[in-house]
């Protein structure tokens, strides 16, 4: 074929093939501005309630003791979230656990305190801090603060550097030294496990909150732990805090913990 005929042919082919394409583009643009726009677009549906909030707990340790629900609270979380039980304090993985007063509120302990308060078990977990140091130090944004206040973990991004464990003053984070499936008697198939080399912690049951349910440990506490939005003055937690005296863990560090502990007179004030 001569160069001239080839070019001519090419131009002809180009022109005919362009026509339907441009016609299609126009017609689809018209369609999408018409009826199609009213139909909902396929893809991810935005259901997340992004209004700024700060979820928090009001914990009545005395009531927990009276009701005897501590083990249920811890057990419910452990089972639902596939938390491995390594049986060794050096490698254990903890989301929520019990500590006596001197470990929970070390800076407030006194030998003159009544023994009941001192010996009582207090549930401790991630405080979902206002100003979380774990988030500040994480180099990969594997841990981040959501607009509703939850300090969330994205295990897919975690590189196991453990900066966050050094940053958290509450020991609320644990590293998986082993494959967690080795230390699970029973696996909950609806929740993923983690892998070796990944850090984990309480997620405030984000998967439940996003579906309008309350955290599991709150449910298991039979009313001894209240859950709600601390920014909302009418929420159950805000009202409870107006009526009782409470303490928080290591406030002086400036992390802004959101777990509030009612220390005395809990039964009368609840």
């Amino acid at each position: 074929m001569e160069r001239r005929t080839f070019l001519k042919a090419a131009a002809a082919v180009g022109a005919t093939s362009l026509l339907p394409v441009s016609a299609m583009a126009v017609s689809s643009a018209m369609a999408s501005s018409g009826e199609d726009a009213q139909r909902e677009e396929p893809g991810v549906v935005d259901t997340y309630d992004a209004t700024p909030k700060q979820w928090g707990f009001v914990i009545d340790a005395k009531k927990i003791e009276e009701l005897g629900v501590m083990d249920d609270m811890i057990g419910a979380c452990n089972h639902a979230h596939n938390i491995p039980q390594t049986g060794d304090p050096k490698t254990e993985v903890k989301w929520i656990w019990a500590e006596p007063f001197e470990n929970t509120f070390a800076d407030m302990e006194s030998e003159y305190m009544d023994e009941e308060t001192l010996d009582r078990a207090y549930p401790v977990l991630c405080n979902h801090c206002d100003n979380p140091p774990c988030v500040r130090v994480c180099p990969t944004k594997a841990t981040f603060k959501r607009s509703d206040g939850i300090v969330m973990m994205d295990p897919h991004r975690c590189i196991g550097c453990r900066f966050c464990m050094g940053g958290c003053p509450y020991g609320a984070r644990s590293l998986n030294f082993f494959d967690p499936r080795l230390y699970l008697d029973e696996i909950n198939p609806d929740y993923p496990t983690r892998t070796k080399g990944v850090v984990e912690k309480c997620t405030l049951c984000a998967e439940r909150i996003d579906k309008g349910e309350i955290p599991l440990c709150v449910e298991a506490s039979k009313g001894a732990v209240l859950f709600g939005d601390l920014n909302d003055p009418d929420s159950e937690v805000s009202r409870a805090l107006k009526e009782a005296f409470f303490i928080r863990r290591r406030v002086s560090l400036g992390t802004g913990p959101n777990m509030y502990y009612i220390v005395s007179g809990g039964a009368e004030n609840a």
Partner: protein
């Protein structure tokens, strides 16, 4: 003359080396991966269709899963509207692996064929139908299953 001979010999050796993979694989026929859809949940479906058309899922499930993961973990969104308008929960464990509970005969088939080595199953899809509480060791990941 000797120089030409030397060059010739080395050219032949070189061609021989490059031909090794072709010779080794000559005559070998690898059929398409044979994936199985024989699972209890799929068998129970009236209309056997995935959340999106099969061709799209075959080519782009990884893109879809990446979007799902980020939407759920980072943005707190859990719902996905398919091309057909149906709403599905964006859950690898419940939605995808609920039906495709046969990792070895479904997922692994194509991944092995295309030499893709994944570690989704270290965390997701924990259930061995016969023995639901068993620890599943995933081939290469035995490294991750050594107890202290």
């Amino acid at each position: 003359m000797t120089k030409k001979w030397t060059i010739g010999i080395f050219v032949v050796i070189l061609i021989g080396i490059f031909a090794i993979p072709f010779l080794v694989n000559a005559g070998r026929v690898d059929g398409d991966p044979d994936v199985s859809l024989d699972t209890p949940q799929i068998n129970a479906l009236e209309v056997k269709e995935c959340i999106e058309p099969t061709d799209y899922m075959r080519e782009s499930h990884m893109v879809l899963l990446d979007e799902w993961r980020n939407s759920v973990v980072r943005d707190g969104n859990y719902e996905y509207r398919s091309q057909s308008g149906q709403i599905y929960e964006m859950s690898l464990d419940e939605t995808c692996l609920g039906c495709h509970s046969n990792q070895a005969d479904f997922c692994d088939k194509c991944h092995e064929y295309s030499s893709v080595d994944l570690y989704c199953w270290q965390c997701h899809g924990t259930i061995d139908e016969e023995n639901p509480n068993a620890v599943i060791e995933n081939g290469d990941d035995v490294l991750f299953t050594e107890k202290a």
